[in-house]
């Protein structure tokens, strides 16, 4: 496991030096702009707008990073052949994968934490006070991070067996499909046969249900999030990501590196 840690630490260093974290500057500017404008155009819902805008930005920026850099984790190393020297060392391929994954997930944790701080600053500057219910925003951010961790796993899976472009396409596709997984489950169209309905239901369970992690609506209006949901979502993310990573490891273990 030491190898996993070494690879992860190097992946984190790469992200920092690749100036990925500069996206935080953009986010900070966005929050500042929002805090200034929100007072003019949305009387009575300043809190709601800042929180929902902030969470949406954290989510979207995070997804960008998770998809593009997640796909690059493996494909960049294969394209540029930086991988070759490493795999000739006494390190297993799955350790390499896990290390890359861990490094990006930690980078995302740092990134979303920093953005959460920015969000709180914007919120405070608009409300001039923070009360107990505002801490739910942290819960929402945590759930967003879980979602991102799952997306990184998917990105890595796809990049193990297709081109980077297709991997990005597939990952975004699964993200969007995953948001509608619940609708698929409850779809009641008139002309669907029983088998089709059952089939769709099965698919709806197989797809990663990203709506699980979405509490932006509740948090924007200072409503709480039940602790059980947080635990269940954590377990779901860990389990699903583990499955995906296992698949990646299996595919990558026998992949011929040109």
């Amino acid at each position: 496991m030491r190898h996993v840690w070494v690879v992860a630490a190097n992946t984190f260093r790469e992200a920092v030096r690749d100036r990925v974290l500069y996206n935080l500057v953009f986010f900070a500017l966005l929050m500042m702009g929002a805090a200034i404008l929100v007072g003019q155009i949305s009387i009575g819902i300043e809190q709601s707008v800042i929180v929902s805008l902030g969470l949406a930005a954290i989510s979207v920026i995070g997804i960008f990073i998770a998809v593009f850099i997640g796909v690059g984790l493996v494909s960049k190393e294969m394209d540029k052949r930086t991988l070759y020297a490493l795999l000739a060392k006494p390190v297993q391929r799955w350790q390499f994968l896990l290390g890359k994954y861990g490094g990006l997930v930690v980078t995302l944790a740092v990134n979303t934490a920093a953005m959460a701080v920015g969000l709180y600053v914007a919120l405070w500057s608009v409300k001039h006070t923070l009360n107990g219910s505002d801490w739910y925003v942290l819960v929402a951010v945590y759930l967003i991070w879980l979602k991102l961790a799952l997306i990184v796993a998917l990105a890595m899976l796809f990049s193990c067996f297709t081109t980077p472009f297709l991997a990005i396409l597939f990952t975004v596709g699964i993200y969007i499909a995953g948001l509608y997984a619940e609708d698929l489950r409850t779809m009641q169209a008139m002309n669907l046969t029983a088998t089709t309905t059952k089939f769709l239901r099965a698919i709806s369970y197989a797809l990663p249900n990203f709506e699980n992690f979405n509490v932006m609506g509740a948090v924007a209006h200072s409503r709480g999030v039940p602790a059980t949901l947080v635990w269940q979502d954590t377990a779901y993310a860990v389990l699903y990501a583990a499955i995906v990573l296992l698949g990646s490891a299996m595919i990558f273990a026998r992949r011929n590196l040109k």
Binding site: R17, A85, K89, R254, N256
Partner: protein, 285 residues
């Protein structure tokens, strides 16, 4: 094919012959459809065995956001070297390959030769018994090639086994104890460089200069470049030729043995292959 302990083995072949493929198979970067291989007595599937192997990939490229020192440190950690020994070892390696002054510069700024040297450094960083180098001289200027040659000889002196692939025959002739020749994906022969080409001498070559007007028989067998002539003849005829030249008052520049080189051996193999391919085409199969 077997590589003996402590020898420098050259893996020769034209581009596309399969040298890199074979090496990558050994390193488990690609997987064979059949066959087995063993290194240091262990199956190549044994990952822990890699602790004792060093590998320099073809056209190496490393994380360009790292400096050479950081890169070596990273690999040293992978090898499990502990902190104090790690930094000492990294320093030593950098000095050995001559990257000491550039160790704080990011790899993205390195020239090809410097990258090659960094690659060498990471290949021997962990003191491996076996060193596998894929085209270590490629892209280097003569000075760089000489440096790499020196390092390979040093490795041999240290008692390590070196396997390297190249298509530059001169390097192979100079460095290798034995060579394996691979053409068209097949191994064509293994042996010392001398064995491969056969020791037979093909004859003598006389190089001379002549400004006269009266032709003599040897001229017909000589190739002319400006005022210089080059004639090839069997050893038995050399004295007769020298007499002719003496009579013609030609100036003799050199008399030397003509030995086939690995290049000839090569070209023969390649031509034979091509002929076979054409024959197949012609017969319509």
């Amino acid at each position: 094919m077997q590589v003996q302990c402590g020898e420098v083995f050259g893996f020769l072949g034209p581009n596309g012959a399969g040298k890199s493929t074979t090496i990558k198979l050994l390193m488990r970067l690609i997987f064979p459809t059949s066959g087995t291989a063993r290194i240091l007595g262990k199956s190549i599937e044994d990952v822990s065995m890699h602790q004792n192997i060093g590998y320099l990939p073809e056209q190496p490229y490393f994380y360009d956001y790292l400096t050479a020192a950081e890169l070596l440190d990273y690999f040293a950690r992978i090898h499990g070297l502990k902190a104090p020994e790690r930094s000492a070892r990294v320093e030593r390696m950098l000095k050995k390959v001559g990257l000491d002054t550039a160790k704080k510069i990011q790899l993205r700024k390195y020239s090809k030769g410097m990258l090659q040297r960094a690659g060498l450094a990471q290949a021997i960083l962990h003191d491996p018994e076996v060193v596998v180098l894929d085209e270590p001289m490629s892209g280097l200027d003569p000075l760089g090639r000489r440096e790499v040659r020196d390092i390979i000889l040093e490795l041999k002196k240290e008692g390590r086994t070196v396997l390297f692939s190249t298509h530059i025959l001169a390097d192979a002739e100079m460095l290798c104890d034995r060579v394996g020749v691979i053409v068209g994906g097949k191994l064509r022969g293994v042996g010392t460089p001398g064995e491969m080409v056969g020791i037979q001498v093909q004859g003598m070559e006389i190089l001379f200069e002549w400004h006269g007007t009266q032709a003599f028989p040897l001229l017909e067998r000589a190739a002319k470049t400006g005022e210089r002539y080059r004639a090839q003849l069997p050893e038995s005829e050399v004295y007769h030729a020298l007499d002719e030249l003496k009579a013609a008052e030609a100036r003799i520049l050199s008399v030397a043995q003509v030995k086939p080189t690995l290049e000839d051996f090569f070209m023969n193999l390649v031509d034979a292959d091509r002929a076979q391919a054409n024959a197949v085409e012609v017969s319509g199969q």
